[in-house]
């Protein structure tokens, strides 16, 4: 039982860290530019496709990952400078409409380039085995790799935001955009940087999850909803909040899916127990969101 819980905890943390990569960019864009960017999921999709294609071309996961992330970041910056920049002073409805349009365009473009069929990539052979963690409990190396990379990026992001000048601008922008501008921060540059950074994080998540899941048109939309849940739980504009929220969502989702069926197993009607369990575990994260919002309407880490 203990091993079972430990395994599910690892699964939850692994998924949570990938959600964090998505939510970090989303929360910064939301917090600093006051902009709702639905197309964030499209960057995740584009990143996954680029990493997979480059991995196949270069025959190296590392090169594929670096190249795909760089390209996606560039796409993010171009998107910001050409189109999204014009939306910052518009109302949220306009932003939602325009970025939803970008989703449709991105999906169609990806379908034209790569086809409608999902792409299945395999992970590098060195990472595709499992290692014993406790006793006879084997855990896949690739999932451990994802956890390590996720933690590493969280640490780097913390360093960037708390210790560097760019980080200071970002924090200043998040706290008070107008004041930061008045104090001489080059806010346009910060916006482009933040957007590129968010796109890069998306691509890392897409590149890492690609070999584990599958790469297909529209993969960004379903995960975007979860990323928004994370942003709302963590508090808009807070990167720590995104980390806490993401891990919380990941763990609650994994434990919910693991424990709720066990708890309901004693019900007399098996069929009812099964469907009740899967329904309850599907809504567990939204329940979590409702609870957090009841307790702290501004989110966990927001002032």
């Amino acid at each position: 039982m203990l091993v079972f819980l430990f395994e599910q905890l690892l699964n939850g943390v692994q998924f949570g860290l990938m959600l964090f990569l998505l939510a970090a960019g989303l929360t910064l864009v939301f917090g600093i530019m006051n902009m709702i960017n639905l197309a964030h999921g499209s960057l995740y999709m584009i990143g996954a496709y680029l990493v997979a294609t480059l991995t196949l071309k270069t025959d190296s996961f590392l090169f594929g990952l670096i190249g795909g992330v760089a390209l996606t970041a560039a796409i993010g910056v171009v998107l910001e400078m050409s189109l999204l920049r014009r939306l910052y002073d518009k109302d949220h409805l306009t932003q939602v409409l325009v970025t939803f349009g970008i989703i449709l365009i991105a999906n169609q473009a990806v379908q034209e380039i790569w086809g409608a069929q999902p792409i299945m990539t395999s992970m590098p052979p060195s990472l595709s085995e499992s290692v014993p963690l406790v006793g006879s409990f084997d855990y896949p190396v690739f999932r451990l790799f994802i956890i390590v990379v996720g933690l590493l990026i969280a640490a780097l992001l913390a360093l960037l935001i708390t210790k560097t000048r760019v980080g200071m601008w970002i924090r200043a922008g998040a706290a008070d955009r107008e004041m930061a501008r008045a104090m001489g921060a080059n806010i346009n540059l910060v916006f482009s940087l933040v957007f590129g950074l968010g796109a890069a994080l998306c691509a890392i998540a897409g590149g890492l999850l690609g070999p584990l899941l599958s790469i297909n048109v529209g993969m960004g939309e379903s995960i975007l909803i979860l990323a928004f849940v994370v942003v709302v739980i963590g508090g808009i504009g807070s990167v720590q909040g995104a980390l806490a929220g993401a891990v919380l969502v990941g763990v609650v989702d994994a434990l919910g899916r693991a424990l709720i069926p066990m708890a309901l197993r004693s019900l007399p009607d098996q069929g009812l127990a099964d469907s009740l369990a899967s329904t309850l575990s599907a809504v567990s994260i939204y329940l979590l969101m409702a609870l957090v919002l009841y307790w702290r309407p501004q989110g966990l880490f927001s002032r």
Binding site: A116, G218, M219
Partner: protein, 395 residues
């Protein structure tokens, strides 16, 4: 002179009219499939199989001009209904086929029955449409949803597995698979999991399987779900001590290339196999690979079979295929060679056939394929358990 000119003009008009009046209306097929998205492999294979049959018949079903309209339901019941409405109202189709998913079928079927448009199923049909809600306008030449899972349950019992873990997606077809398996499996159920449809990360379910420690796992998953489940099962190291048993659709030509060696040795049950020894099947398997540069899957064989069935039915209607009664009776008694060696309709207009045990092996070219383990089927001459509930059968 003027008189003569008038006569010539009249004759010319009369002549030009006759062929148009005599030419038969084309037969119109509406192919509603899930052609995009992560679960699109099923309908795409069915579409290619159907088109191959059409090509083999010179582009004409039963020698009659054939128009095929395609629509994408995106595996979504609401979208499926919209696509159906367009096909029925503006394209005036006579027959619909191609749907891959039970929830879409159940959304489209009632309207099609009301509109008196024939629905020839090219994938597993839900039990309602075989039983209580069977319909004059519904044919399922393929298999009823739980057919393969029931056979897998019987095989698991014969194989002597004491404890089995069952995983299936949490929607109607998934539940039917799990129930079908459990009905025929006589050992102990070590645990159950119901995943989300289209789920791609099975880490939680794999943890549950590890904790339950069964002899084998029966997984009723298809497309990318099957690929990811088996890959992640192996990555977690569970393949070293736990066997996998499944229905044929999980480990077929559409999933095997992505599965690779992870799938070798998996026992599965199917109504079709690429090595079934009959001439029609051999031609189908060869030509499919030549045409589409990939091996044929069960789904492709189902699409091909629907093409063969409709060809025979239109031919046997002798030009009266716009007459519902004639077309219905022609479909019901269509005479053609099936890729499955043995097939006929039972009274509820569903398939009666054999279900074979297959195993995933590497062929001489090093590619993965399925091989029938024994020419004796797990189930011989099997119809479905719902015939008795169908009003059509009582007549």
């Amino acid at each position: 002179m003027l008189q003569a000119k008038r006569w010539i003009a009249f004759t010319a008009v009369a002549l030009s009219c006759t062929p148009a009046a005599q030419a038969a209306d084309p037969i119109k097929i509406g192919f509603i499939g899930s052609l995009t998205g992560p679960l699109s492999t099923l309908s795409t294979d069915m579409k290619d199989g159907f088109n191959l049959a059409l090509k083999h018949k010179g582009g004409k079903l039963g020698g009659v001009d054939t128009v095929v309209a395609y629509g994408d339901d995106q595996a979504n019941p609401d979208t499926g209904k919209q696509v159906y409405e367009r096909m029925a109202k503006s394209e005036n189709v006579d027959i619909i086929t191609g749907m891959a998913f039970t929830n879409v079928m159940l959304a489209v079927a009632p309207t099609a029955f009301k509109d008196k448009i024939f629905f020839v199923n090219s994938n597993a049909g839900p039990k309602e449409l075989a039983g209580a809600s069977c319909n004059y306008y519904y044919f399922n030449p393929t298999w009823h949803t739980s057919a393969l899972s029931e056979a897998a349950g019987r095989f698991a019992t014969q194989k002597g597995y004491k404890r089995i873990f069952v995983i299936a997606p949490n929607y109607q077809a998934g539940r039917e698979h799990a129930e079908g398996f459990e009905k025929e499996y006589k050992g102990e159920i070590a645990g159950r999991a119901r995943n989300k449809v289209g789920q791609l990360d099975f880490s939680v379910e794999i943890g549950q399987i590890r904790a339950a420690n069964p002899d084998a796992v029966f997984f009723a998953l298809w497309g990318p779900m099957a690929i990811n489940f088996v890959k992640q099962f192996n990555q977690a190291g569970l393949n070293k001590k736990i066997d996998l048993v499944t229905a044929g659709f999980a480990v077929d030509a559409d999933t095997l290339p992505a599965l690779g060696d992870a799938a070798v040795g998996i026992y599965n049950t199917s109504q079709w196999s690429p090595d079934l020894p009959n001439a029609v099947n051999r031609k189908f398997v060869e030509d499919f690979e030549k045409e589409f540069k990939r091996p044929a899957s069960s789904y492709a064989s189902q699409g091909y079979e629907v093409g063969l069935l409709l060809d025979a039915a239109v031919r046997d209607s002798k030009g009266k295929y716009k007459d519902d009664k004639v077309l219905h009776d022609a479909i019901m008694s269509a005479k053609y060679e099936s890729v499955r060696s043995y097939f006929k309709f039972s009274a509820n207009q569903n398939a009666t056939q054999n279900i074979y045990l297959r195993q995933v092996v590497k062929n001489e070219k090093g590619n993965l394929t399925n091989k029938t383990v024994s020419s004796t089927p797990v189930y011989a001459d099997q119809s479905d358990p719902y015939v008795g509930e169908c009003k059509l059968a009582a007549k």
